[in-house]
Amino acid sequence: MTDTTPAAGPATGAGEAPAAFLEVRDLKIHFPTDDGLVKSVDGLSFQLEKGRTLGIVGESGSGKSVTSLGILGLHNRGNARVSGEIWLDGQELVGASPGEVRRLRGRKMAMIFQDPLSSMHPFYTVGAQIIEAYRVHNSVSKQVARKHAIDMLGRVGIPKPDKRVDDYPHQFSGGMRQRAMIAMALSCDPELLIADEPTTALDVTVQAQILDLIRDLQQEFNSAVIMITHDLGVVAELSDDILVMYAGRCAEYASVEDAFHKPLHPYTWGLLGSMPRLDRERTERLMPIKGTPPSLINVPQGCAFNPRCAYKDLNGDKSTTVRPDLVEAVPGHKVACHLPLEKKQEIWESEIRPKL
């Protein structure tokens, strides 16, 4: 977790296959609705190498889940407008046919969902669901697939997997269910694993076990992992890099080290401030971000964060008129904020950090 080499910015020009294992370029996912155009993801770019973990952090409705679904091609195809590029291991996915993307899903890229109870089909046994996932991509007999399923269940730490393989999801405990979900996701050795709030629905004690499991498995399979969460603790535990999303855009991109110790975006400061810390006085424990997340239909002019930002006045009216670009302020550390770098560092050091 000390490797801070950032994988920032496109290394190659648009339209060309990148060197990185996964590269997202200027991804936009918009949904036209009766009420207006919902810009769930609005120009997002990042890279990810195999064996590394990217944490995407943000509030509900910041577009992080849509991003992950977009990569897998699981967004609502009927009414979504998608633009930009997604390169996975040299293959572009946005322009690819649904069939092609489907064949990659589950095999090359897999996903772990938030609520394992609702994410597993209640009418089929856990084993059947893993077998199904395996057999879609591997033409093997049922027996072989079943053996593989039992094997997978064993590997994710489910006791007596040969018995539990025939149980239904509701017969599992929450943690076990999430393990089974992971087993299913990993059944075809995916090279990219996206975990969308994998621990949110679980007991705290189980959370740690699941995170350990993901980490172990990642090492074992050498996959690239995207960890989507609103829990900075999870990110700190697992990620190499962090992408902070706000209103469908990247607010800050940095290594875990930098993000926690030298964050440059006021929103990131807010996130850090909202983390409960037991080592503080009760009254100081939480410094919530004031205001509510913006509507994705009417994103505020200028910096999307400006209505909630305590420092917007330091930029004259720039924050309310000009949308800040994501720039590499420090090598390997990008931020989208009009505040001068020095000012940001100063505020962090003097005003924010002491209170955390």
Partner: protein, 330 residues
């Protein structure tokens, strides 16, 4: 207002695309559910059309009888005695400037007038029956949902039993069993109340079930807990906290129950246990059409289409209201 990141499980998470946030966050905060619903409904042209027809029908039922001729007056000069059907008009319908929808075979009574008067009966019976269902259904539904335990068991069982009853048979039987002159009432004075009672009484479980379900979930909500923790009495919680939140589903399902009841009333009339002639009723007109539909199809079409349009209008409005008030209950 605090915006903790932990908003899992709340409504907004389930609706990630922030549709609920509306066009612009600020304006929407001041809007009541009713305003939001109205806004949505306004955009639903089909439902609006249904609503307009419903209003027209209600006006027609109230004021129409003042405008049309007597539904009882015979015009036997229009009837061909040999075939016992209207002499004139396309397909022997008797349609003319005086009788826009034609006349009834055998009697020459004006069909438009009979349709308009029939609307009055149809709407009166179905509205009052719906009201009865809603009252019973709401009271019992709330009671079951709120108090739970054996009360819920009892009421839920009763609802199951009601749903398992062959309703139409029961309704017919009930109407037939209550002889004229019972309860000191006679003729249509008795019959209409019997119809309202029978239709309303047998349909309450549909409302009851929905209200019970809604109450069950409301009961667990924070504001109820809050009220309870502050020592509010049950009656206060029921009427001040829960009932207002049930207005939307009650409105939606009442609107959807009305067309069902219109059909129910028409069916009873069709089977000969509806309002008593000569009072016109749509179902009763269809009954008379049965033996002659092959020689006089128009006589069957007119009341049939009247029922169809009315029921369709209510269904459209009901569907629209449901979508507007409860977008997820599609």
């Amino acid at each position: 207002m605090a915006a903790p990141l932990e908003v899992t499980g709340s409504d907004t998470e389930a609706q990630p695309e922030a549709v609920l946030a509306g066009v612009d966050g600020k304006a929407i905060q001041g809007r009541s559910l009713g305003q939001i619903a109205w806004m949505r409904l306004k955009r639903d042209k089909v439902a609006l059309a249904g609503g307009v027809i419903v209003i027209l029908l209600i006006l027609l039922a109230i004021f129409g009888p003042l405008l049309v001729q007597s539904p009882l007056a015979y015009h036997q000069n229009l009837i061909d005695p040999t075939y016992n059907r209207p002499k004139t008009g396309i397909w022997h319908t008797g349609i003319s400037a005086d009788h826009l929808l034609g006349v009834e075979p055998g009697t020459g009574r004006d069909l438009l007038a009979r349709i308009v008067h029939g609307a009055r009966i149809s709407l009166l019976v179905s509205f009052l029956a719906t009201l009865l269902s809603v009252v019973i259904g709401t009271v019992l539904g709330i009671t079951a949902g709120y108090f739970g335990g054996w009360v819920d068991m009892l009421i839920s069982r009763a609802m199951d039993a009601f749903l398992a009853f062959p309703l139409l048979l029961f309704a017919i039987a009930l109407v037939a069993v209550i002889a004229d002159g019972s309860f000191g009432l006679s003729g249509n004075g008795l019959r209409i109340w019997v119809l309202i009672f029978v239709i309303g009484f047998f349909n309450w479980p549909y409302i009851g079930r929905i209200i019970r379900g809604q109450t069950l979930s409301l009961r667990e909500r924070e504001f109820v807990d809050a009220a309870r923790s502050m020592g509010a009495r049950n009656s206060y919680i029921l009427f001040k906290e829960i009932l207002p939140n049930l207005v939307a589903p009650i409105l939606v399902y009442s609107t959807l129950l009305i067309p069902t009841n219109i059909l129910f009333e028409a069916a009873l009339s069709f089977l000969g246990v509806g309002v008593i002639p000569p009072t016109p009723s749509w179902g009763g007109m269809l009954t008379l059409a049965v033996p002659i539909y092959s020689s006089d199809p128009m006589y069957m079409i007119v009341p049939g289409v009247a029922i169809f349009i009315t029921v369709l209008a209510f269904n459209l409005l009901g569907d629209g209201l449901r979508d507007a008030l409860d977008p997820r209950a599609k």
